[in-house]
Amino acid sequence: MVGYLVVLLLVLAAAAYWIGRTRAIASVNGDVARLHSLPGQHGMFLALFAAGPALLAILLWSLVTPGIESSIIADRFSSELSGMGIPQVEAFIRDARAMAFGGLVGFADPTKEAAAAVYKSVHTTSTWIIWAVALVLSASGFYWAYSRIAQAYRARHVVERVLRAFLIACSVVAILTTIGIVLSLIFESLRFFQQVPFYKFLFGTHWSPQSAFTGAGAEAGAVNQDIFGMVPLFAGTLLITLIAMLVAAPIGLMAAIYLSDYASKSVRAVAKPVLEILAGIPTVVYGFFAALTVAPYFRGIGESLGLNVASESALAAGVVMGIMIIPFVSSLSDDVINAVPQSLRDGSAGLGATKSETIRKVVLPAALPGIVSAMLLAVSRAIGETMIVVMAAGLAANLTANPLEAVTTVTVQIVTLLVGDQEFDSAKTLAAFALGLVLFCITLTLNIVALRVVQKYREQYD
């Protein structure tokens, strides 16, 4: 229904553009040069006022109405819903909405059907209201703007001001996203910390949120605060990141050095795309590779050496994650190494140093801040990487430094806690947001430190 309204408004806008244009031309009897603004700008002006306010109203309506409708339902049926908890009320309203719009629900009862009927009538009313509001806004906007169109009217300024406001609004989306991330993480984390004190979360060494309550079944008591210790997750993340960096840092750095200082043009023409392809492969593919090829392979090697390698060993996940990060390290290091001026290399060669001596004693020290920053960014990426560890690392939180054992990571736990149907306000799901907050803080800090390292220690040669 509202979809038709939007289409109608768009058609109106197109018509208004044409009308505005024609009127502007008519106002000067076809002598366009006498107009302050171009005819098209007058058309845009009219179109903006005919459709813009109405479209904004529809946007606002579609954001607000679901909440209002639900609260009306909850209010009308408050006596029936009084005995229910928040999740049941939510489920009830969801079912009522589904029934009202012709969907299927698990089981229906008379209360739900009555609620669905009310829902339907409320929704019809609100749809009529938005139709009326949109049409009134459109008509009055059109009337106002139409009466304004005249030879000296500065339609261009209005159109360009609206355009600029739109551009600013688009730039602000980035800030809104950040604010949204921070607020949603902090808000949900605070709810979690009301149930579990944050020091137990940050410094506890026991993590098994699957048994979130003391006691079982009907005897389930309060939230068990001692099972939300994130130290093992953090240790597991660090272990896997360390393995990944042990693979990625030397290979990526040496590849960057080779490509920037040694490789011939033809080698570069092959090697660069190879690294780009490696960078473009989705992480879920790496995860599949880790779980089905690398992990059994390492297990087989371990068995032949008499070692006990877990089938979800940190080693397999770490190595594959390292492979994934190689192109990241090498492209960042490549930029940094290329930024070292040629004069430094020439000077070193003039003193009789070989190429490798030049690289090791002149280029790398000069590029060091950039390389450190690249490594920090790579670490931040490894910490935030999800799919490889979800598919190849374990679920049990072991506090160990042995790379042959299975460990779990922060991201794996976020996924396990939130995938599937869960009540949304239990300590278990809220814990995922607390983990997300920790993850966000760590990666943000690493990125800021990486930026600061470059800014502070970079040598200006030119």
């Binding site: 991330i181 490509l259 192109p327």
Partner: protein, 537 residues
């Protein structure tokens, strides 16, 4: 060495610390380090290449079998007695197909074996049959040859992925059976069979008794039009060997097969360590040699939705879901991203707000993708009450994630347009907005498009944030709109990788191949755009 140096000295060049033996050794060492360092670098590049080759070859070799599916052609009785044309919806089509299969093997009588036999054809057979009859009612009224997909294990076996089966070898002695069906005794003309069984993992018992358990290779003797599976062997009188066996396919007669008339088929993989029994193998081989099994292009995989049965599972639902999600992502991220880039690059004054926005965008680009999933869950699903698993929500989350990439690429592209263009436009009286939208933006468009396509390719392969907003649900139907529950290709890969059935491993690889194909196409378009339209000033 000393001589050589002293002779140098004799010519007139004094021996210095730069030319003495130690210096030469030092120089040699330095050059060695040089070569070593160079090869280390080359090795690192080669290693990266090796990883890529390993990754791709693993996936391609696993994916190839999934591109074909084996079909079994059965004469199916669709006469009015079986299928009432007036009540097409009430017919049990599965039972009809199963009867046709049972009629093909009349001597399979025990309940257990019948069930095993039924398992050879896919559980989706009835659905296919019903659909085809609805599409072509002319099939009704008689017996038609109809091809049904075989079950996943049978399919894997036919592709040679489940068990190693040797070819039939003629037995160079006579074989005499005691009966034609049931548990029978076989008498071999010589005792060569005993040594063979020993070599195939038979268990030694008393009096030279050899038992072939399910941990040993299976030995099948094919003769007189039937197949016998050997279970135990012992030396018979005067150099012969006697074997106990179970008849899998009934023999024609109890006449002794002469030397060279009986054949031995060895299944190397022991029955206990494969997922298909000897009986099923024999049946499938019989059907295959009768020409009833045909390998076809796997259209089920490409054109249907997900399923729990590997042979019925397809990627089309996920491809459509991905497509819908990408449309939403593009529709949101492209206009907003380009507008933001235009504002920041062309209009924005240098003030605090602009700096904050810039720092923000760079930070957003480095936020782990799963955090965007948490944002989607908390804001879109819980706060705004949007539907779970819907492409519209997935598209919005991915759009927020892709936005920084598009903004950064667009800004770089706008910056590359030389100021002379702007000055010329302003000079002939264009307004700022006209300058940007009529002159700068069209010139920057190829670069912006390239950046957008690369950003979209990144979004297409993204999985983690979509797990958070419920796109991991098991959805059979092909999504028809932006708010229908859907899953997307990477998530489908993730789900299939977790399924325990062996058939899904090939399907997963094939789905990965399709995903990579889309990514290659997108990247190729980006490269072409860059080559054809990007101008260097």
């Amino acid at each position: 060495m000393t001589d050589a140096i002293s002779s140098f000295g004799a010519v007139g060049r004094p021996v210095s610390i730069h030319t003495d033996g130690a210096a030469k050794a030092r120089l040699k060492g330095r050059y060695r380090t040089e070569t070593w360092f160079k090869w280390l670098g080359a090795g690192a590049v080669a290693l990266a290449g090796l990883f890529l080759v390993l990754l791709l070859s693993t996936i391609v070799t696993q994916a190839i079998p999934a591109l074909r599916q084996n079909y079994l052609t059965l004469p199916i009785d669709l006469s009015a007695a079986k299928v009432d044309p007036a009540k097409l919806d009430e017919v049990n089509y599965d039972a009809i197909a199963q009867e046709a299969l049972a009629a093909r093997f009349p001597d399979v009588t025990s309940r257990q074996d019948r069930r095993l036999l039924r398992g050879l054809i896919s559980t989706g057979t009835g659905v296919f049959l019903r659909k085809d009859i609805a599409a072509d009612p002319g099939m009704l009224g008689g017996t038609v040859d109809y091809a049904v997909p075989v079950d996943d294990f049978a399919d894997l076996y036919l592709k040679g992925l489940l068990a190693d089966v040797g070819s039939d070898e003629a037995i160079s002695t006579s074989v005499t059976p005691s009966k034609t069906s049931g548990d029978i005794d076989l008498t071999f003309g010589d005792d060569a069979m005993l040594a063979l069984a020993r070599g195939r993992g038979a268990t030694e018992g008393e009096n030279g008794m050899l038992t072939l358990t399910s941990g040993a290779s299976s030995l099948l003797v094919v003769f007189n039009g039937g197949t016998v599976k050997l279970t135990a062997l012992w030396p018979g009188p005067s150099g012969t060997a006697v074997a106990k066996g179970t008849v899998i396919e009934a023999l024609d007669s109890t006449a002794p097969a002469a030397s060279g008339q009986a054949f031995l088929r060895v299944i190397d993989t022991p029955e206990a360590s494969r997922k298909i029994s000897d009986k099923e193998i024999v049946w499938l081989d019989t059907l295959k040699s009768a020409g009833q099994i045909e390998s076809r292009f796997n259209s089920i995989f490409f054109f249907t939705g997900a399923s729990r049965e590997p042979e019925l599972a397809g990627v089309w639902g996920a491809v459509v879901g991905s497509f819908l999600t990408m449309i939403v992502t593009l529709a949101i991220a492209f206009p907003i991203g380009v507008s933001a880039a235009i504002y920041l690059e062309e209009f924005a004054p240098k003030n605090r707000l602009t700096t904050i926005i810039e720092v923000n965008i760079n930070n957003l680009a480095a936020v782990p993708s799963i955090v965007f999933g948490l944002l989607g869950l908390a804001v879109f699903l819980n706060f705004f009450g949007m539907p779970r698993s819907a492409p519209v929500v997935g598209g919005m989350v991915l759009a927020l994630m892709t936005l920084p990439i598009i903004i950064i690429a667009s800004r770089a592209s706008l910056r590359a347009v030389p100021p002379s263009i702007r000055e010329a436009a302003l000079g002939i009286g264009a307004s700022k907005a006209q300058t940007v939208f009529h002159h700068v933006l069209p010139l920057a468009m190829p670069g912006i498009m390239t950046g957008t396509i690369l950003g979209m390719a990144h979004a297409l392969g993204e999985t983690a944030p979509l797990l958070m907003i419920g796109m991991v649900a098991f959805i059979v139907d092909i999504p028809g709109g932006f708010t229908d529950p859907a899953t997307i290709l990477p998530v489908q890969i993730f789900m299939w990788a977790d399924f325990p059935e062996a058939g899904f491993q090939q399907k997963t690889s094939a789905a990965i191949l399709i995903l990579l194909l889309f990514l290659v196409i997108m990247n190729a378009i980006a490269v072409i755009l860059r080559r054809r339209f990007e101008r260097r000033w």
